[in-house]
Each structure stands twice: as C-alpha cells, then as structure tokens.
C-alpha cells in the first residue's frame, strides 16, 4: 500500500483527482448557495491565491514586501487587456496576467533584493506607487476612469480549483531543495551563503513566483468585478494581503488559508454593526495579534501536531514522517 502511494503516477493521479473533486464540489456548492455568499467565497479564494504568493516572499523567504498590490494590478490589467482587446480566452488571459506579473517580479527583484528588511519594504512600496501612477496615466488602461467592459468570466469553481492548485504547488515548493533554501535565507542569510546557497537567486525566484500568484489573483479579480481602476490596487490592498499572511502565521500555509478565510469573511460577517464594522474589524486584528503573536497557526507544525494528537508512534530515524 505504502509503495503504491509512493509511485509517481499514482500520486499524479491522486493529485488530478483532488483537483477534479474540488472543481466538482465547488460546482455543486455554486448551484446551491446564494450569490452573496458565493461572491464572498470567491474573494476568499482570490485573496488566498495572492496571500500564498506573498507568504512565499515574506513568510518563507523572509523578504518584507509592501508592493503586492502592484503585481496584482499588473496581472489584472494585462489579463483584462488580453481578453478585451485581443479576445484571448479567459483562462489563457489569467495565465498571461500571472506571467506578466511574474516577469515584473523578476525585473524588480534584481535591483531591490540587494536591500533587506525595512529598506526593501520601502523600495517595494515605491515600486507599487510607480505602477499605480503609471496605470492612472496610460491610454490602454483608460487611466483614472478605469477599465470597463471586462467579461465576468470568473466563477467559484474556477477560483477554488486554482486556489487548491496553488496550495499544492506551495506545499511542494516548501518541501523541496528550493523551498529549503528560501527558508534558510529567512533564518540566516550569511549562514545560507556559507553552505552554498545563492541567496540572490532564491530571493528572486520567490519574488517572481509570489508575483505570479498575485498576478493570477489580480486577473481573477478583474474578471469578477468586470471593472478595475488604479485605486483598487493602492497601498491598503497590499496591507490587506500582508495582514492575511501575518495574521495566519508567517510561513504557514494552513495559517494563510485560515487568515484568508477570517479576514475576507470578517468584514462581511460584521456588516450588521454598520458604522462600527471596521472598528470591530480592527479590534479583532489587535486581539488576535495579542493572543497569537505569531499568527493563528504561526509556529504550529501541523504534521507533528496531528501525529501527536492521534498518538502514532515516532517513525524510525531515517525518513521523515509523512
């Protein structure tokens, strides 16, 4: 049984089945739930995809980025231009959005990733502002008036499937040579290069992949709202995504998932408080950070926790417990 599970084809098949199941279940949910709830679910998915990207940059590799909304806007605009002006199919448009954003992540990564910590944060912030102003002044994006007439092609099943795909990709990445190198950079850059890790290379990789995720999220966003304008992608949007990652627990994929759910759903759940809504929302953030300073699932090793909970005996020394 165990040998069978280790077979690559069996795993690939299981993976595809998981994706298919996600698509099917979310289609069923799509047919049952009211549109209002669905749209919240959809935004949870979009935020999750983007937050997973930022988690790779900030949580895993330890590079504080305040410009994630810029990559989101690049993905949103480039996919919108692709589908509206060039009549590209929707899913291809999403891919284009991701790729263009990823490319920008690569270009921006080279000069800025020599900076660290606060300095990098300011540089990414500056980059985000440049992008926003650029979109405000470009003809093809229709400037400040906003980009109109995007097809509302994004559906709940599509978002959920892409979100699950992103989760898988991130789990795989973290459990690989590249992912370990990124974690090492977060922990100690000098020691990383002393063991042979090309820190610049892996930082740029993380940046590009994170930007790709943001671009995909942005593309899905554009095809949900059907109308985008530069102010959708301001500094506050970057902070929103960063809050998801920090509140969920930096570097924790399950944490990011919970963060995306809580922080996207909370403003809606608090709607009954009308004027006090954002106040309570802010209070919620403060309370969570006081009681869980490392985020909801920060510092929790889920595999270990689950194993301890069901009291499985420790595996032999070689080979890590699955």
């Amino acid at each position: 049984m165990k040998k069978l599970l280790n077979n690559w084809f069996v795993q690939a098949l299981l993976f595809l089945m998981a994706l298919g199941l996600t698509a099917y279940v979310s289609q069923v949910i799509n047919d049952v739930l009211p549109p209002y709830v669905l749209i919240i679910g959809l935004f949870i998915g979009i935020n999750l995809i983007m937050a997973l990207g930022l988690n790779l940059i900030t949580g895993v590799t330890g590079q504080l980025s305040l410009g994630h909304a810029a990559f989101m806007s690049i993905g949103a605009y480039s996919s919108a231009i692709a589908t509206v002006n060039f009549h590209v199919p929707f899913l291809l448009g999403v891919l284009i959005g991701g790729l263009v954003a990823g490319l920008f992540g690569l270009i921006i990564g080279f000069p800025t990733l020599r900076l660290t910590g606060d300095y990098l944060a300011i540089a990414t912030l500056g980059f985000a502002e440049i992008v926003r102003v650029q979109f405000t002044n470009m003809k093809i994006t229709n400037g400040a008036i906003g980009f109109l007439g995007i097809q509302g092609s994004t559906t709940f099943p599509i978002v959920m499937t892409i979100a699950v795909l992103t989760i898988f990709a991130m789990v795989w990445l973290e459990d690989s040579r590249n992912g370990r190198a990124m974690l090492a950079i977060r922990e100690d850059e000098v020691a990383s290069s002393a063991v042979g890790i090309n820190t610049t290379l892996y930082k740029i990789q993380a940046f590009a992949i994170g930007a790709f995720c943001a671009g995909v999220g942005g593309a899905l966003f554009a095809h949900t709202t059907t109308f985008i304008q530069p102010t959708d992608f301001g500094f506050l949007k970057s902070v929103d995504i960063l809050s998801i990652v920090v509140l969920g627990g930096l570097g924790s994929i399950p944490g990011t998932i919970i963060g995306a759910i809580v922080l996207t759903a909370a403003p809606e759940a608090l709607r009954s408080l009308s004027n006090y809504r954002m106040m309570v929302y802010g209070l919620l953030l403060i309370v969570i950070m006081i009681f869980r300073p490392y985020g909801l699932l920060g510092g929790v090793n889920l595999r270990q926790a689950v194993r301890r909970a069901i009291m499985l005996p420790k595996k032999k020394q070689t080979g890590r417990g699955a």
Partner: protein, 260 residues
C-alpha cells in the same frame, strides 16, 4: 602539499589593516590552528577565505585554484565550509532540515523538480536524507532530528553547526572558536569529534582561544597579532616562542609595546 594557500593576503578597513601580508598554507589532512589575542584578525581571515570579505591585496587559492572574485556560495561548493563564532543556525527549522540545507551545494533539483516531483527528485531527497542522518549520527545528534534547532542545548547547537558544515563533504572545514562557551566535558567530546572528522580525510583549520584544547589537538599552530603572523610551528615550538609570549603576556618592557 598545501591544500589551501594564502599568499600576501592583506585587508584594510579604512585606515585599519586587519590582516597584514599574511602567508599561510593549510596542508592536506592536517589540523591547523590559528590563535592570537582578541582583535588579532583571526575571524577576518576566515571571512576572507569564505569570500565574505575581499582581500585588498594578495591571493587565496584552494588546490591551486584562485578564489579571488568567487562568491561565497560557490566557495562552499568548491569545498570550503565553516562554522561561526556566534552560532548561526536556521533556528526555526528542524535539526534534520538544518543539515539538509548544509548539503545544498551538492544537490541538483530546481524549480522544475520541485513542482513535478518526478522519481529522480525523490531519489535525490532520499539520498540527501540518508546523508544528513549519517552526519547527525556522526555528531551524536541523530536522536534529535525532529527538534527545532533553537531548542537544542548550547553544545548540541555547536555540534549541529559542524554537522551542517560537514554534510557537503568539504575539503577544508573552518571552525571559528568551536569550543566557545562549552563546559570541560563538552570540550573533551569536541576534541574527540574534531579528530574523527580529520580521520575521514577532511582538513581542519580552526580558530580557538582555549589554549589547552589548541595545544592538545592541533598539529601546527599559526599565531596572529595585529593582523601579522608572528609565529608558526608545532605546539611545542609556538609555546616557547618569545614573540608569542610577548603578544599574549606583554614583554615586561613598557616601551616595546608602545612602539607599534
């Protein structure tokens, strides 16, 4: 035969000459110690060898290949790894992951392998895991593989740093004050381990303050004072060297010290 050679290596930080025309050869398979009073430039020498600093003058070469202009991460790949004076572990990661990362330069997998997880990648991971466990066993840390590095005791953390540096099978292992902060028992264990590492064919170059440990373990000692090499030789020779005694204890003559 010299494995690692420093020829006329000089580095200046502004007006301060931290290392001054240093000539030093580390021979294949030996245990060489670099000693000297605080601020003599010992750690700077390590930082020069590993490419963290670039020498103002002079050449450093490994196996005859010059190391000038080679970035730190490639130097590890060429076969020089190190530990640090202040412990630099990946403290939030598991002990096993720390060692696995140590073998980074011996791996080949890239992004494609990370996402496709083809059998080749898994084989590499499995081999890596085995090699890492071997290194942990060698340093008597195998039982702790699942712990977070930060939860280890001080002595264990020092040993983990050595395991991380060893797993890539370097030619030269640089140990920067490996015994700092250790109690006598831990030191005895360390000495034993350093010998065993050398016996596997790895050349050892260490900086240390503990004279007893140095005298007991090293085959040759080089003494640094104010960036200059003032003596080199067997422990016995160095111990009775006048310049060394002067550097550590002073000459007893007020003037001679001032003149520098």
């Amino acid at each position: 035969m010299s494995l690692l050679a420093l020829a006329d290596v000089t580095i200046r930080f502004g007006g301060l000459t931290a290392v001054d025309t240093l000539n030093l050869e580390v021979k294949q398979g030996e245990i060489l110690a670099l000693i000297g009073p605080n601020g003599a430039g010992k750690s700077t020498v390590f930082n020069l060898i590993t490419g963290i600093y670039k020498p103002t003058h002079g050449k450093i070469s490994l196996d005859g290949k010059p190391l000038a202009g080679i970035p730190t991460h490639k130097i590890a790949d060429m076969g020089i790894t190190r530990t640090f004076q202040t412990i630099r572990l990946f403290s939030e990661l598991s002990v096993l992951d720390n060692v696995k990362i140590g073998a980074h330069c011996r791996g080949n997998a890239g992004l494609f392998q990370a996402f496709t997880r083809l059998p080749g990648m898994k084989r590499e991971e499995l081999e890596l895991e085995e090699k890492s466990m071997e290194a942990l066993e060698f340093l008597d840390l195998a039982g702790k593989w699942e712990e977070k590095a930060k939860n280890l005791s001080y002595g264990e953390q020092r040993r983990l740093e050595i395991a991380r540096a060893l797993v890539s099978k370097p030619k030269v292992l640089l140990l920067d004050e490996p015994a700092a902060g250790m109690n006598p028992q831990e030191k005895a264990v360390l000495v034993e381990m350093i010998r065993r590492i050398r016996d596997t064919g790895i050349t050892i170059f260490l900086v240390e303050h503990d004279m007893k440990l140095i005298m007991g373990i090293s085959e040759r000692i080089a003494v640094l004072d104010y960036g200059k090499k003032i003596a080199e030789g067997t422990p016995l020779e160095v111990r009775s060297n006048k310049a060394v005694i002067e550097a550590y204890l002073g000459s007893g003559k007020f003037k001679s010290r001032i003149r520098r």
